[in-house]
Amino acid sequence: MKYIDEYRDSRVIRSLLRQISREATGESYRLMEFCGGHTHAFYRYGLIPLLPGSVEMVHGPGCPVCVLPISRIDAAVALAAKAGVIFCSYGDMLRVPGSDSRSLLKAKADGADVRMIYSPLDAVKIAEQNRDAQVVFFAVGFETTAPATALALKLAKQRNVENFQVFCNHVLTPPAMQAILDPSDDGGLGNISAIDGIVGPGHVSAIIGSSAYAFVAEKSQIPLVISGFEPVDLLESVLGLVRQINEGRAEIENQYTRVVKDEGNREAIRLMDEVFELRGSFEWRGFGMLADSAQKLAPAYAAFDAEQKFQVSYPEAVDHKACRCADVLRGLIQPEQCSVFGKACIPENPLGACMVSSEGACAAAYSYGGLVEAGS
C-alpha cells in the first residue's frame, strides 16, 4: 500500500534502530511522545523494547478522550439522558466512565438515544431527519477534530438546522505542551515530568503548522520533532531528537513533511477562527484549569451551543481514588507503576480514561505491552 509500506520497511527500521543505538550514548534521553496516536503506534509496532536502554519514552497527554475531566463526562451523560435528545458521539467516548462508572454506553442501555457517528456531518444529517428532537453532538478532540466540528456548525447554520447542538469540548495542544514544559504554569501542581525532547504531534501539526511550536525551543530549550505515525517516522524522529540533544540544539524539526507544512492548513484555521473563540480556562484531567486552552462557540453560533441551551453545569467530580491517570498524563509515571493497572483497572472495566481509548497510555500498555525482553 502506497505511503504505508515504505514506512514499515523492515530493512530501513533495523538500520534506524542500529543508528539510534550507535548515537544514543549519553546517560539518558527522556523523550515524550505528546500525542496518543504516537503512544499507540510505539506499542502497536513493539518499538519500545527495541530502543537502547538510554532512551526512555514518556507518554504525554495527547489523548482527547483521556484529558477530558470527569465533570464533563458526567455532563455528557446527563445531556444524553434528557428527554427528546439524540446524543451523537465518536465511538471512543462511549465507554469512558464518569462518576459512579456511569458512561454513555450505560446511559444508552438505560434508554438514552445515544448514537455512534464517524463524522459530525452525520449528526447534522440526523438532526435534519429528526426535526422534533434535539440532536447534540459531543465535540471532543484537539485541533484535529475541531475543523470537522466547525464545518458541521457552518453547514447547520446555512441550512437552518436549528435542532442541531454542539457540546463543545475542543482543546488546544500548545497550552498543554506549555504546562508540561513550564512547571510554573501548571496551576501549582508541581512535579511535572522532566523531559529532554518531544516527539511532536503529527495530525495536530497538519492543522496548526510547525511554526506553532516555536515557543518550545525558545522558552524551554527542548528539541521537538514533528513525527508521522509509521515505524520509520517514529524512529527517524527519535534519532533526530537524540542528535539534537547530543549536539545541545533545541530546534523544531519536521519529520512529517509529507503532511505537515510550516503554516499548517490555512483553510481549517480560518474555519475554526470563524466558528470558535478561546475559552478563558478549561479543566484538563491531570493538569487542572489551564488558561486559554480550549475552544467554545463564537457568539455568532450561540444558537447551536448545547452548553447555553441546556444550561449545562459541572458539579465537582473526583477521579476514582486509586486511579493515577493524572500522573500518567503528566508523564510522571509509566502506566505499569499505577497500583490498579491491569488489576482493578482493565479495558473491560476501566477505572480511568487512560484505560479506555486505544490512544490512552494505559490501554496501549495493557493491550500491547508486557513484553519486557526485546524481540522475544
Binding site: L50, S119, P347
Partner: protein, 342 residues
C-alpha cells in the same frame, strides 16, 4: 383458499405471525419452495431423521447483521454458512439444519423471498438440508428487519479428535486464506462511512475444504472459523483452552490490500475483523507442509499460509512478531472495536 401473496408489493403484518392462515401462507409461498426436501415437506411438528453412525455434533448461532445485504452475501446465506462451518470445525460432516426467523412488521415479501432464495442456494451448495423452520413476526421497532437463528447438526467419526484444548507446543498454525474480508466489507457497506471499493465478504461454507483436509490423512489438533472477533480472538481462545502460547508472524498473514486500507483508514486492526469463510487449523509441525499443500489444492484454501507456531508460553496467549523484530501482545477484543478519534 386465500389469494396468493403479492410478493412484489406486499409487506408482512402482524397477522403473519399469528399462527393462522397467513402464517401458513408465508411459510408455503416464501420459504418452503426454497427449502423443499422430503423431511421438511412432511410439515410435522418435529423432523424425524435417520442419522448415520458417529457422534452427533450440534451448533447454533443467531444472526442480527446490519446491513442485511452486503457485498457477496446476505443475512440468509450467512446464517447457513455460520452454522455449517461451526459444525465442520469439529471435523464433522454437517447434515441437517433448523432455522428460526424473527421478522419485523413491515418487512417486504420480496426481501424475505430474496433471502430465502439465497439460503436455498447456500444449503444446496453445502449439501445440507433444512429440516425444521419457524417464523415469528414482532411489532415495528421491536426488531431490526430480520433476525435469523440457525442450528446445524452433523456427525463425526470416533477416529477424528479435534478440539480447542488439543494444541501442543511446537505445533504449526495455518490460516486458509485472506483474513478480514467479511468484516471490512460489512464496515465499508455501512452507508454513513461513504467508502467505495471492491471489498467482498468471504462468506462461504467450509465443509468441503474440511473434508479435503481430513482426507489428506494428516492429524489436525484444532480448527476454528475466526468469525466475530476475528483471527486474534480465535487464536487467543485456542491458546487459552490448550494452555499454550501462540506466536504469529505479521508478514505471513494473508490480508488483502483493500482490507488493509479500510483498517488503516479507520484505525482498526484487521486481526479483529470477522471472517465468515476462513478457518484456522493447528497441526503438528511435521505435518504442516503436507496439510498446507492439501489446502492450497482446494479452491477455498488457495491462499492458505502457515502463519505461526504454538509455544509453551502460557502467560501471554498470543504474540505477534513484525518483520523488523518488534513484538506485541494481541489481546482479546474488549467490546466492539471503536474507531479512534484521530
Amino acid at each position: 383458499m386465500s389469494r396468493r401473496l403479492d410478493i412484489e408489493h406486499g409487506v408482512v403484518d402482524l397477522s403473519f405471525g399469528a399462527g393462522g392462515v397467513a402464517s401458513a401462507q408465508l411459510t408455503r409461498e416464501v420459504f418452503a419452495p426454497q427449502f423443499s426436501n422430503p423431511i421438511l415437506d412432511r410439515m410435522e411438528d418435529g423432523a424425524v431423521i435417520d442419522m448415520p453412525p458417529g457422534r452427533l455434533v450440534v451448533s447454533t448461532d443467531s444472526h442480527v447483521i446490519s446491513p442485511i445485504f452486503f457485498p457477496a452475501g446476505d443475512i440468509g446465506s450467512l446464517a447457513i454458512h455460520g452454522s455449517v462451518n461451526d459444525v465442520s470445525m469439529m471435523g464433522a460432516t454437517p447434515l441437517h439444519m433448523s432455522v428460526g426467523f424473527i421478522i419485523e412488521e413491515g418487512v417486504s415479501f420480496s426481501m424475505l423471498k430474496r433471502i430465502a432464495t439465497s439460503m436455498g442456494a447456500a444449503v444446496r451448495d453445502a449439501g445440507v438440508s433444512i429440516v425444521a423452520a419457524d417464523t415469528k413476526v414482532v411489532k415495528k421497532g421491536e426488531a431490526d428487519q430480520l433476525y435469523i437463528t440457525s442450528t446445524c447438526i452433523g456427525v463425526v467419526p470416533e477416529t477424528i479428535q479435534i478440539g480447542a484444548d488439543r494444541a501442543r507446543e511446537g505445533d504449526s498454525v495455518i490460516v486458509s486464506g485472506f483474513i478480514g474480508d467479511h468484516g471490512a466489507a460489512v464496515l465499508a457497506s455501512r452507508e454513513s462511512l461513504g467508502l467505495k471499493g471492491d471489498l467482498k465478504s468471504d462468506s462461504q461454507s467450509l465443509n468441503d475444504l474440511v473434508a479435503a483436509m481430513l482426507a489428506c490423512g494428516v492429524e489436525i489438533h484444532c480448527m476454528r472459523d475466526p468469525t466475530r472477533g476475528g483471527l486474534a480472538t480465535s487464536l487467543n481462545e485456542l491458546a487459552t483452552s490448550s494452555g499454550v502460547g501462540i506466536e504469529i508472524e505479521e508478514q505471513a498473514i494473508p490480508v488483502r490490500e483493500g482490507v488493509r486500507a479500510v483498517s488503516e483508514l479507520l484505525g482498526l486492526d484487521s486481526l479483529y475483523f470477522a471472517c465468515e469463510g476462513r478457518l484456522v487449523a493447528i497441526c503438528p509441525a511435521e505435518s504442516a507442509d503436507a496439510l498446507l499443500a492439501c489446502m492450497q489444492r482446494h479452491p477455498k484454501g488457495e491462499h492458505a499460509a502457515i502463519i505461526g507456531k504454538v509455544t509453551g508460553r502460557r502467560d501471554m496467549p498470543l504474540i505477534l512478531h513484525s518483520a523488523f523484530g518488534g513484538s506485541r501482545i494481541v489481546s482479546i477484543l474488549t467490546g466492539d472495536q471503536m474507531p479512534r478519534i484521530c
